[in-house]
Amino acid sequence: MNIETLKDKYLELQQKLHPDILHLLQQWKALQEKYAAQSFEYSVRGKTVRQELTGISLSGTKIPKVLLPQYKDWGDIVKWQLQENIPGSFPYTAGVFEMKRQNEDPTRMFAGEGSPERTNKRFHYVSADQPAKRLSTAFDSVTLYGEDPDRRPDIYGKIGNAGVSIATVDDAKKLYCGFNLCDPATSVSMTINGPAPIILAFFLNAAIDQQCEKWIAENDQSLWEKVDNIKAQKYTQQPAPIYNGALPAGNNGLGLRLLGLSGDEVLPPDIYTTIKANVLQQVRGTVQADILKEDQAQNTCIFSTEFALKLMGDVQEYFINNNIRNFYSVSISGYHIAEAGANPITQLAFTLANGFTYVEYYLSRGMHIDDFAPNFSFFFSNGMDPEYAVIGRVARRIWAKAIKHKYKGNERSQKLKYHIQTSGRSLHAQEIDFNDIRTTLQALYAIYDNCNSLHTNAYDEAITTPTEESVRRAMAIQLIINRELGTAKTENFIQGSFAIEALTDLVEEAVLMEFDRLNDRGGVLGAMERMYQRNKIQEESLHYESLKHSGELPVVGVNTFLAKSGSPTIIPGEVIRSTIEEKEEQVNNIIAFHKRNEAIAAKKLSRLKEVAANKGNIFMELMETVKYCSLGQITHALYEAGGQYRRNM
């Protein structure tokens, strides 16, 4: 065989190579050089950021932040770029951003207890001295199920327990007062699902009224007199609502001067409209609002599934029409699926499948993929299983491939961003000190996997509401990994590991197989009707429990390595509960709210029902309804318009 034959063969084969692939090969050298340099520049939201590409260890070793493979074989180079690639490039296996954001640890500040005032104080406490205010809100179960505080004992006992009680727009204003909700450094996440659209409308109105206040202060101080006059007219029978108690340190009172009023009662319509439009484009945050996983795992559905989906679609449509781009309209959550007992593959498969179901539903309503996909975020649990090492990698890769090739979405739509919470279920009520060790390992999985935000559980969560001390330790876990651990300075530390790559392929295929199983049952909704997801989660939970019980699955300090004492279950002496005063305050506030809006509320509610009956955008109307109606009033009106959730078994 002579050299010409080889050359002919070469040219023949080259014809079969896709032009994109040729391009990948041609630019490989340049890519290697780019990452071998000291630093590079890239842009975020139109701003150019210069970033160092290496760090120096104490020993003087130059530590690269992103490493590329040393492959020589073109096949390996091609495959790597098509299945792995550098962070920030399709299929985003290693991450959706080129580099991690500097000086912003993905740490959320969690609170939710008692009255809005108490939670507001706590928010100011946990975010003090932090430039970025990333507030995560937990709501009490009364709120989660869309009801108002009430003296009826079965409701009363739950007011303000394990979350904050929020029933009106006034409550939302108090909850976030002193935080400028339009500041780019503030983002708010709300863990709410069934009544999410209503709570979101509370939040957005609170944000709008804050800016109305700022507008008055900056442009027309004389309007404060008008505010006082309107309040005097409005509150003849009862005192205007107030923030109960002193403002905490760091709270400048922003959001309280229009408490009990809506900005549009004071400002001229054109100014109010402009402020509102600007606010909607600026607010940052996330509302969970994932109704599919509620039906599959967590049980806080309140509306019929179809109506709940319609509401979600209305919210998304409103986001598109008002250019709300910095707020996630849904956090598609596997966390609760995993907490209910699902293994990591099932968690990932069900969650992604739920995400694609929202995609299909929104498309069927005529929305464009690139208008809504960037408003999606994801939320996973990280436990101890090996698959958790790659859960983010597989999620990003599947999402990107499907959005690009199936739905023809743009790059922004292809990027799956997700929050991780370490697994609450993996924590045990025996030897609770060991729990921090589990959380640390799970956090390490998450950080190596380039999660976009992370919550580490406190070690005592298995037995009680975490204390300030235990929360601080949990926070320290993240900080120690991010700031002290040397290997975490490399932003693609796990890329190139044989084990990680093999696991990624295995988990990807396992997820696709689960998609096929769901498909055979009529897709996600068809499977839900047969309780397929629920049953599968239950089975996997049982499997775990039986292995734990038999000792086949070792759990240190629980079924093995027991202390001389036998490692007994720790029972908490005290549990943090809301006080009688707080409950009374919330009940009295809601009674006063109902009374002062009695006349107008009825009209607003019947208008809301009318909009629902005419298949209008319910969320657009809710933005008005919440100015005068409470959570419970609204959910009950919507039950008449869209039906209550029907339990199943």
Partner: protein, 470 residues
Amino acid sequence: MSQKIRIVTATSLFDGHDAAINIMRRILQSKGVEVIHLGHNRSAHEIVECAIEEDATAVAITSYQGGHIEFFKYIKELLDKNGASHIKIFGGGGGTILPKEIEELHKYGITRIYSPDDGRKMGLEGMIEDVIMLCANGHTHNGKIKEPAKGKYPLGEAHNIKHLAQAITSAEGKSNTTDDIPLNTAGNKSVVIGITGTGGAGKSSVTDEIVRRYLAAFSDKTIAVISVDPSKKKTGGALLGDRIRMNAISHPRAYMRSLATREDNTALSSVAQQAIALCKNEGYDCIILESAGVGQSDVSIVDHCDVSIYVMTPEYGAASQLEKINMLDYADIIVINKFDKPGAEDALMDVRKQYKRNHQLFTAKDEDLPVLGVCANKFNDEGINHLFDLLSNKINDKLQIACPSKIAGSVKKEAIKKSSIIPDSRIRYLSEISETIRNYNNWVNEQSTIATQLYQLNGSITILNKTPEK
């Protein structure tokens, strides 16, 4: 024979943690208890109303969301206030209920709250055996019916639900004895609607939707539902699960009773007829008898009712299967539920054909046949509105009584347009996605193989080029 233990299971209000109660109810069933399962997020009023209507021995409730002191005490208060102090209260909530709180609740009269410690000491089975023992010990009313307080019925209901519930229990205790059709209901104007169909066809959802519309359409009339589910032959226990789907039934003008078939293992408990008579006697205007779908014996329902409805789904297999369904001969109305499923239109056509054959109605117009498609899981479903109208007309025809029809204005007679969240043409979206990804992966492998070969050829060419020619 000692009285059957009947226990209502639920989680407390605003509490979605139903894993534990589901395990408990399964063990209760396996030990021969009849369990009326309400599922998660139930108010004290709903639980107590259910316990009284079902003449339950006890309620068993889990509470993991706090507020348990108030919740359990309120249950006890409601039971006491409504003449039902004999109903026992069991509960649990893992570590969320502190030992001193358990003590407080026991002192207040809650029968037993189980702690994690109890769980470890007794085991799950042990705890359930304890519940059963405590239930058996103090079983109370022995079929003797206490008189209601003058002019006031429990929980402000329209009729005496407690009286009725206990009377049905007495009838159950004496089943098999035929001499005991207790009441003469001749001349009674109550209407009895029978609903039957295959398991999983959505009978209870259809029933619930009828109840909801009935209560809305007639502000002065009352309705009772008798729902029959099979007992397990092996254990004697039963899962009476229809109530879990019912959203409309917790209402002062509505009553519901779940019956297990017990020894008499047919679709209809022999007590059903007596239960209907007792409901009539108590004054309920409309009575729905819902029977378990167990194959051929379900025709017996037509003997018990004035109007009968057969509920099925589009998923029955080949059209010839329809020839085997007796109810297509006997039912007054045939409902194809889950009409948003693929193949629903075909099913409607097939069933109409079969109906025409069975009734020798070869020239009848399709839309005049009492065969219709519905989606009971949809709110305010047009199909169910149509069904309710049809039902009202049938009742008028059969009984010559004025039952106002048309609750939803004019419902068009033609087949209802189906609407679903995911369009039919997109229903295979998940497989399309997995196919897209597999195709991509295959393409990557192909291209990378070519790239490797090119790399190898390139290497060879380079080496050969460097070799001096001979």
